[in-house]
Symmetry: C2
Subunit: 514 residues, 2 copies
């Protein structure tokens, strides 16, 4: 790939770093959201009870498969489940009972304690896009993601005020061997950002590497006593728990690290076409997955995950920002809260190929539903494009800016004497103007959320400046952020130890690209 | 203006009309939304009571101005208000009591009874953008709106499945004299669409013309006994009721036609910078306006309106899709429901100059809030651009498509045996696939909402077809709709009478452009 295709490369180098030191301002990160507003509850009590009863029926009568995992079958048998081949049938009530040892909320520690996040209760923690093999930017178009892209996205995440979490696979660095890329990815999160991050789940051994690198970063005792990673364990819906994902879950649970136990569902393909049917399956799967996690280690932190999209029955394409996806998000949130578990869903999800109006409609639909639906951990909160195939530079900063809307909305409405503003109304009176009044002067700085990206200029100014659309504004912001990026300080001995670990691990095995 | 600038002109002519007759399909219009989901309530009971008490204080101690309107002052004095100059101070409880004669909901009749809408209760009626002096399309850019544009927007509204209402000033036809354009606008709504519409409010005499044209269209008795127009009466915030708007309100109320009594507020300029303060002023203004309407004619249908935007304190520009605007929308909805009045707010509001991602984020934020916030009548539901300065052809169909999301979301979640899909889950089982199962086959057609506009194609197909963004897809849809437009049938005698009325009225006065 040439410089022309990926013009941002190398900007983190010497000259840029020196410029950055001269010009960069202190990185501001908003505290994770603590909601002061109610949740939106779309399901009635009766509907919830039906879905819960049906999920128990699914577990007891149909059961779930734990594939290629004799250890899991043994644990389930011992707990009282009925095992037939790889099928696990779980008596009514057992899975729910096992889930009760999971904490209602937990703290995920960051290497900078100011960036610690609480996941659960009324909190909402925002993390970036996860998983795309491609990246896109305005200048270079769509191309395979590289480690350089990965580092750029970690830097953008670090600099994004409304992003609380550095995430995990912000894109797949396809230029690094599959069996080694987790090492480079973790090293990037640990050294280029000081926000919390996710561990590798693509092999149990890579989960173990993740734990070991955290032991270097945080100290061994600290890791055993605290949660420092939240990792994504997808369920192979319908109702299949594969050995790779469960192997990673086992490593994390044994080490007291958090797992998001998350059905991955394209509705109509991996679950019934109906919302109630999908919710039933989601609940059954999460009950089984989290119960298993608690069998591995009672009390291990977990998150009730629900990644559910609808499908375009004409093309078979997954669709995002749709009403059915929102209904499932709202409903699953209610089910999670009834289990007193942290809830993962949402994201700036979209099917569009470009960071255009479609991308924004679809993303905004889901972002709004996620806030009101009580999500506690939102992966893909920025940067997701093209159904998750693409991490978009521009959309990353566009979505990240919109996350500010969620922060302010979640604060709720102040009703103290200052907020009532009766003095201002009396001072101004009929036909008057508030811009100059004392109350406005005293409050205007924090009164209204303001985008750091969007265009608020007069038409003539906007036209003179090139009549730029949102993508063009975002492209300029990406460049500015990457140019002014400054690496957060890290103990050089720790940095050297992490580098040494990665070098040694890489040298211990041949490259594998499958 | 040349053909190149406004390429759509003339497409309604002979050749296009004949083509349309051969190719057009029957126009499908969704029934107005009847919500089967709860409202989102952001304010506590305590906060609501404080705001209501404060609004009464504003009315009793500060009062409102009825400008240049001795008749209104006389009515208020008679009702028990204290008059001082043009200031009307309304004793605590009086305005709220007067509002009690207003209906909780009403039917607005369309000339096609299938298009009648119920406004109030659990309903949501969607109407297009109102007021812009400019239009924009992808080919012609931004330019002053003309009557030809106006007709095009009425046609697009007629053909939009999810739009229930033809609206009012879908753009300002600046090529028609100010004192005559209401006649052409009404004629367009009456003849080019069969959906309900709004009347003129720019002069009391024009409101009277609107009533008279409706008497031709519906019959005189029908108009006196039924509501056939819902018109927009803006309050000149803070707390000023000007004689032009009140004159129009008086005409409509006397004729049993509906008025939206609507503060028009840029927060921080026309109301306090705080949400609670703004809600207090909104409530005081609406109480006074609706009470006055009920003084003019007890029982006249009204709508509690709230058009509130935030402001960018750097530039003074109004801002849209912001968290504060959503909070006010949610709060005002609660206040309206406590008065048992229909509620108008929301819209696909945005500040962007282009139908880009900014436009879509901001619009989607407001559209979602309006659905969950219990709005009953949503003006500006599609087509609004650049803070309301521009009616956008592309954004009209983009927003109108997204209105389908609201329809489906509002239906709520079915929980009957078919929706529970227990048979499907059993049939498919762990590791299976739902695409071919009986339940999917029986339900897939209605299972998922599908956009008529957005791109769901595979990447390769999309690229081969020109890698179009949403604006380009929308532009093609606009062309297709206008090419296939067919005028709904209307009794030729009625059409001729309407034409004659317009011709005669126009001839009765010289042109005025101010």
């Amino acid at each position: 790939m040439t410089e022309a295709v990926a013009p941002r490369r190398g900007r983190g180098g010497g000259g840029a770093a020196r410029r950055a030191e001269r010009t960069a301002i202190r990185i501001e990160t908003a505290k994770y959201i603590e909601r002061n507003i109610p949740n939106f509850e779309i399901l009635t009590e009766e509907a919830l009870e039906i879905i819960e009863a049906n999920a128990e029926t699914v577990l007891a009568e149909i059961g779930v498969n734990f594939v290629n995992n004799p250890g899991a079958l043994a644990l389930w048998r011992e707990a009282g489940a009925e095992i037939e081949g790889e099928r696990v049938r779980i008596p009514r009530g057992l899975a729910r009972k096992l889930c009760q040892t999971a904490p209602e909320s937990f703290t995920q520690h960051a290497r900078n304690p100011e960036r610690n996040v609480v996941i659960g209760g009324k909190s909402l923690v925002l993390a970036p896009v996860y998983g795309p093999p491609f990246v896109r930017d305005a200048e270079g178009g769509r191309r395979y993601a590289t480690m350089e892209d990965f580092r750029n996205f970690v830097k953008l995440g670090y600099m994004s005020k409304y992003l609380h979490h550095s995430g995990g696979t912000v894109c797949e660095p396809t230029d690094v061997p599959v069996n080694k890329r987790h090492l480079d990815m973790l090293l990037a999160h640990m050294t280029l950002s000081d926000k919390p991050f996710m561990g590798s789940v693509t092999e149990p051994s890579r989960a173990q590497d993740s734990v070991e690198m955290c032991e270097i970063l945080f100290g061994r005792d600290f890791v055993q006593q605290n949660t420092v990673m939240t990792s994504l364990i997808n369920i192979n819906s319908p109702m299949t728990f594969d050995d790779v994902m469960m192997g990673a879950l086992e490593v994390y649970a044994k080490n007291n690290q958090a797992c998001i136990v998350s059905p991955f569902i394209v509705g109509g393909a991996m679950a019934p076409v109906s919302v109630a049917g999908t919710l039933t399956q989601v609940l059954a799967e999460v009950l089984a997955g989290i119960a298993y996690c608690q069998l591995v280690r009672p009390g291990a932190p977990v998150i009730f995950g629900a990644f559910v999209t609808s499908i375009d029955m004409n093309s078979g394409a997954p669709t995002f920002g749709t009403p059915e996806a929102s209904q499932i998000l709202y409903g699953a949130g209610q089910l999670a809260r009834r289990m007193r578990l942290p809830y993962r869903s949402g994201g700036a999800l979209c099917g569009s190929k470009l960071p255009d109006a479609q991308a924004a409609y679809e993303s905004a639909n889901t972002l709004n539903a996620a806030l009101l639906g009580g999500v506690n951990f939102m992966l893909h909160a920025c940067g997701w494009l093209e159904g998750g195939l693409v991490s978009s530079y521009e959309k990353f900063v566009m979505d990240a800016d919109q996350l500010g809307v969620l922060h302010k909305l979640a604060k709720g409405v102040a009703i103290d004497a200052n907020a009532q503003a009766m003095g201002a109304i009396a001072e101004v009176g009929p036909g008057g103007h508030y811009l100059g009044c004392a109350h406005t002067q005293a409050n205007f700085k924090d009164a209204f959320w303001r985008s750091d990206l969007l265009d608020y200029k007069p038409f003539e100014t906007w036209e003179e400046e090139g009549a730029r659309d949102t993508q063009a504004l975002a492209s300029a912001l990406v460049t500015r952020l990457l140019e002014t990026y400054q690496q957060p300080a890290l103990d050089p001995a720790v940095a050297a130890a992490l580098e040494a670990y990665v070098t040694e691990k890489k040298a211990s095995m041949p490259d594998a690209f499958l």
